[in-house]
Symmetry: C2
Subunit: 393 residues, 2 copies
């Protein structure tokens, strides 16, 4: 069964669970603005004119599209009814809605969940205009719950793609460990990883982040050509790939031993162990039915209790069609995260677990693992890094 | 000067022309949903948290972004002020607006222009929440006029990129003419073009459309593996590429001579000549200050007068950062095109001129050229196809 068939079937079962009559995705020129829901509604191709894709609680899959897009939608083999129009979508849309007479219509807008927010404001206004004078205008609801479930709950096909993406990232990280030389710049490491990614026939899920030593720029900054590997440096690499549209996201740590050093300095060891313990302890609590913020708090409390500066990001985001997938977030209740930390963890969601502390004079100490929520806990999709990789150069 | 610098400077001058105080672009997780305006506001990188990019009439360029995105925005070298926040964008945004006290704030939503409609409905609601209780809520206007001008009026840097994209497409079309053999399928031709595109180090601006003979599926359908080249077929190929982010879009025609044939049949010649004449005549009328629909009507009238079925699409769309670029459209006043055919043509806009007629038993006869509007007319960016390419196999 293909993925679009699998996910649209899953959408039907979620519509029943949430008691929503139809899910209506309204898009135009998808090469210009791409509603993230389209990943589950069609294969990788483009729609030119205004198109409505409808999934109903009763199991119908209907597309209304510009005449010249009909063949493309037919070839997906998922929609039972495909209606092509020439001048305006209005007549066909109203006709289809009249036949179903839905009492609730989920559309893709969401204040908090970017992946459920594919309807632009102009298209919202347009939809209001199209539905003017019909009873449907007052039956519009947000699809955010539907989409959080649909994106979050991975099917076996999706899990296997993520596992493959994780495996490729792990090999990339191993390559970094072998590749590092003194005087190599952050940019050199980035270039090697980009080359590796290309050779594997995949794409990065995010521009690789390379953090070398104490002077690196932390966060989403680009790799520097001036910052170079030297002894005593902590080297952090954040690298993930997309495999057939599904992302991995992993961070690994290396330490460059100083001359005569057998072990890293105590403060480096303590930092690394704190990060590992925070991941282990929070992973033990991660299971269906807990709130996202609860899991975040466990790791955050450990870091703060150890006297480190609090990390100013969430402990874990979902991964899937995007490297930062939306829905339930293992994060603190900060305004910028909206309601996502207040959502419940569900089975078959894939999360990252990631956090960092900073070690004066050595650098950024950060690990990120990928996990899958199981029936009563979680399993690691990545082979965990439990020991700091020590490099003698 | 880099493109972002050039386009943001151009935005300042358009803000002055339209007397709008500021242009405010509000985005989040741009890897998930990408506001098309970002092409002109930053380089190809991603913003993770809610970000506001502000361009003011008085010439200021201000960014307010999540702490970890600061470095990325700094590296673009275009924003004078970059403010990083941790928990919420609200305080900094209100502070910046209070300092400017703009009487009009252009934001990216548009009923008719997809390229000016990058603000999602959820972000619109969020912006309303952020600005609640401030005077700014009532000062929001659509940026569609600003963006139509900014996207439409190509700078020299942009024109050169389009010219290069046109040249690569033309070479692809030449390759098709050399490549065609009897019994070759539409899909074979498509594959060859995709390979050619990859070798040139570019990407297609649209999946190539291959129309072989009378049984082809017209429009945006995928190439068929069953429909194969035979004598007497008209072969139409619609193929464009992106060169450094800028698109070309060209259609070329070939005819496979039948045994003993020196010239194609009369009805094929008449169809081809009608298409060519419609392009020539409409190009003669294309200049700054005419309405989009006026140019479309010239070509449409010629086709109808010759007794052919009317083509059910616009004569010409703009090309640029997208292959179907928005703003003024050389199209009929159909509901689905909104106000775009009612807009005026401006200097330095790049358009396609394309139309087709169908020839019973032979196939789809369609040509598409790319043109640039000059001070008092237009110039062809492509070397026009004025003769049907005749292939003897």
């Amino acid at each position: 069964m293909n993925l679009v068939k699998q996910k649209t079937d899953q959408a039907i079962s979620i519509l029943n669970e949430l008691d929503i009559d139809i899910w209506l995705t309204y898009v135009r020129k998808t090469s210009e603005i791409h509603d993230p829901s389209l990943y589950f509604l069609m294969e990788d191709s483009w729609l030119t004119w205004q198109t409505v894709l409808l999934i109903t609680k009763s199991g119908k899959k209907i597309a209304i599209c510009g005449r010249y897009d009909v063949t493309n939608l037919e070839k997906i083999g998922v929609y039972d009814t495909i209606i092509g129009y020439d001048e305006s979508i209005k007549t066909d849309l109203i006709k289809v809605l009249d036949e179903i007479d839905p009492s609730s219509i989920a559309i893709n807008y969401s204040i908090d969940n970017v992946a459920a927010d594919g309807l632009t404001h102009g298209m919202w206004l347009r939809l209001n205009k199209l539905l003017e004078g019909t009873p449907y205008l007052e039956r519009l609801v947000s699809s955010e719950k539907l989409l959080a479930a649909l994106r979050g709950r991975k099917t076996e096909l999706e899990i296997n793609k993520i596992k493959k993406a994780v495996e490729i990232s792990e090999n990339g990280h191993k390559k970094v460990t072998e590749f590092i030389k003194l005087e190599m710049s952050e940019e050199d490491i980035e270039k090697m990883l980009l080359k590796f990614t290309k050779e594997k026939g995949v794409t990065v899920s995010y521009p690789p982040l390379i953090h070398v030593g104490a002077t690196t720029s932390i966060g989403h900054g680009k790799a520097s050509s001036d910052i170079k590997v030297k002894r005593g440096d902590l080297i952090n690499v954040d690298y993930g790939v997309f495999f057939e549209g599904y992302a991995s996201d992993l961070q690994r740590m290396n330490y460059i031993l100083r001359e005569g050093e057998i072990m890293p300095p105590k403060e480096v060891v303590r930092a690394f162990e704190t990060v590992i313990r925070a991941i282990t302890t929070s992973a033990e609590k991660l299971k269906p039915g807990v709130y996202g913020w609860e899991v975040d708090k466990i790791a955050r409390d450990i870091v703060i209790k150890e006297g480190y500066k609090e990390f100013m990001h969430a402990l874990g985001h979902q991964i899937g069609r995007n490297v930062h997938d939306s829905g339930c977030l293992l994060g603190p209740k900060w305004e910028k995260y909206g309601n996502s930390p207040l959502m419940l963890v569900e089975e078959n969601q894939a999360f990252t677990l990631e956090l960092h502390v900073y070690v004066e004079n050595h650098g950024y100490c950060s690990i990120e693992e990928d996990v899958l929520v199981t029936k009563d806990g979680c399993e690691f999709l990545s082979v965990r890094q439990l020991e700091l990789s020590l490099i003698r150069l």
